[in-house]
Symmetry: C2
Subunit: 339 residues, 2 copies
Amino acid sequence: MQVAVLAHEKFPDRAKTAVGLLRYADYDIEAVLDRDNAGKRVSDFVPDVQDAPIVAEMADAPEVDALIVGIAPIGGGFDETWRSDVTTALERGADLISGLHYFLEDDEEFARLADENDCDIWDVRKPPEDLTVAQGVADEVDAEVVLTVGTDCSVGKMTATCELVEAAEEAGIDAGFVPTGQTGIMIAGWGNPVDRVVSDFTAGAVEEMLLERGDEHDVLFVEGQGSIVHPAYSAVTCGILHGSMADKLVLCHEAGREVVHGYEDTELPPIEEYVDLYESLAAPVHETEVVAGALNTKDVEGDEAAREAVEAFADQIGGAATDPVRFDAAAIVDEVVGE
Amino acid sequence: MQVAVLAHEKFPDRAKTAVGLLRYADYDIEAVLDRDNAGKRVSDFVPDVQDAPIVAEMADAPEVDALIVGIAPIGGGFDETWRSDVTTALERGADLISGLHYFLEDDEEFARLADENDCDIWDVRKPPEDLTVAQGVADEVDAEVVLTVGTDCSVGKMTATCELVEAAEEAGIDAGFVPTGQTGIMIAGWGNPVDRVVSDFTAGAVEEMLLERGDEHDVLFVEGQGSIVHPAYSAVTCGILHGSMADKLVLCHEAGREVVHGYEDTELPPIEEYVDLYESLAAPVHETEVVAGALNTKDVEGDEAAREAVEAFADQIGGAATDPVRFDAAAIVDEVVGE
């Protein structure tokens, strides 16, 4: 599928979704829309992903099957300066994919244009209507289930999950990706936004995805969310932990992170305590083990220091560890998918 | 406020909400609607709650300020045989209070009648629109916060919470009740249905209530939900634990319960493990301690055997314990609200 990705004024550093799509999605990205960088190319900013031209507006983009809104303003609203890009896309017959809190399908003009031009609007944050409570049966699928869990938000769980899928596939393993957040869902092209479902259905929303895909792959990598001791988001983390009934856990952490992001009064407990908490909390529903770690060393200067940080992290979790971006997820694939 | 409570064909054994209202709410209950028991009285079935006549339909009930739907069919839908009761109530100017999944305010006939007769319709399962993520500040309220936590669903957390509020008030303590589920909300007359909110807002929905009431009382008793190791509902439990930032926990359990209700393949872990899990999971956000236990001994025959079960439970949690219904919540009030 050929797509354009809207990332006005934010590419690449504040366009996490756009960069995630460029790095991990199977879409052919024909253009990135960023009026501040029109005329440049993706490769001028991000070297190790698929390249594409950067254009000022949708009118300058080549024909595509869909326009993806690849950024989110604070609050998740719709920026009216994007309206002409969206209407142009619909008038040209392109579908819309959006992760905004503001649902594009509820916008009268977009809905009318989509109808007139036979386009689909997919608001990925809108949960399906038919979700319900978990039955506690995710362990019945054929696939081994691996879940990424974190010490905090924004430590690299989605990235680690995508890198693990790629590394497993390179090792000849039939691996699937189970997304739980908006960027992951856009990358995968399917999935339930677990942080937006009715709280009673949190585990059920994960279980539903595992039942749908669990017999199609040998290993499923489930994207985790938040942290089990996060002041605001632990409910989602706990629901994913129990709903996925994961066989193995990969603990994700950012080197140097000492307090909860955005909740600076709250210190992160020691890594060993996370390992113990995740394992002991999961066990009554399904026995599991933290078998490996993914350390995000983006703020560590130099590969040598980063490698030392990774080794220290491996010691703390009592397993293998890597930085799947700076180094390679292949280093932990054996631990994660082996017997 | 004078109310009638609808409980057709289910009073009292399958009308948990109706019985909860009769036992704990401040409403004057003028009639219970149950067409199977018309002509009898509440006291013919339940001796230790406020008494009221049982009538066949709303037309037979005295004037009231509101009709409360006090039962829920499987699935939470609206039973069309109740329609004439609801329309009669609205035509007589009574408000509606309902905990059904089916929102009465979305019913065209009810909405029209409510409008014509100046009645309010309160669907207690519908969360307020303005909820958001927790800020991690519930510990800043003046009140000490006590949370009931459970080994499973339906072990008596709401009952224990209500009994503790009453026992604290009898001991001269200014105590408030923070409801989190539909029956608790109907009893309290306010509150957020924490199990129905967007999963990311679970902790925030609890925090919002504590910030609203936390400076009005010396102690707030927060109604817990589910269990931290429940295959389906642990997300809600975890969100309440971290969102409430409780100072003390009261562990609720049903004597004889060995497997998760409705998930019979899943054994309950030992009581000591629950104590450890709740405390260690809460600690990174807010230090807390299981200080007492509430054991539901309704299936234990004889007071002596029940007292032995309570003593064994007290030993397991390393604190005081009681059955707040069979015996008295006063037995644990000192542990729960003392220094």
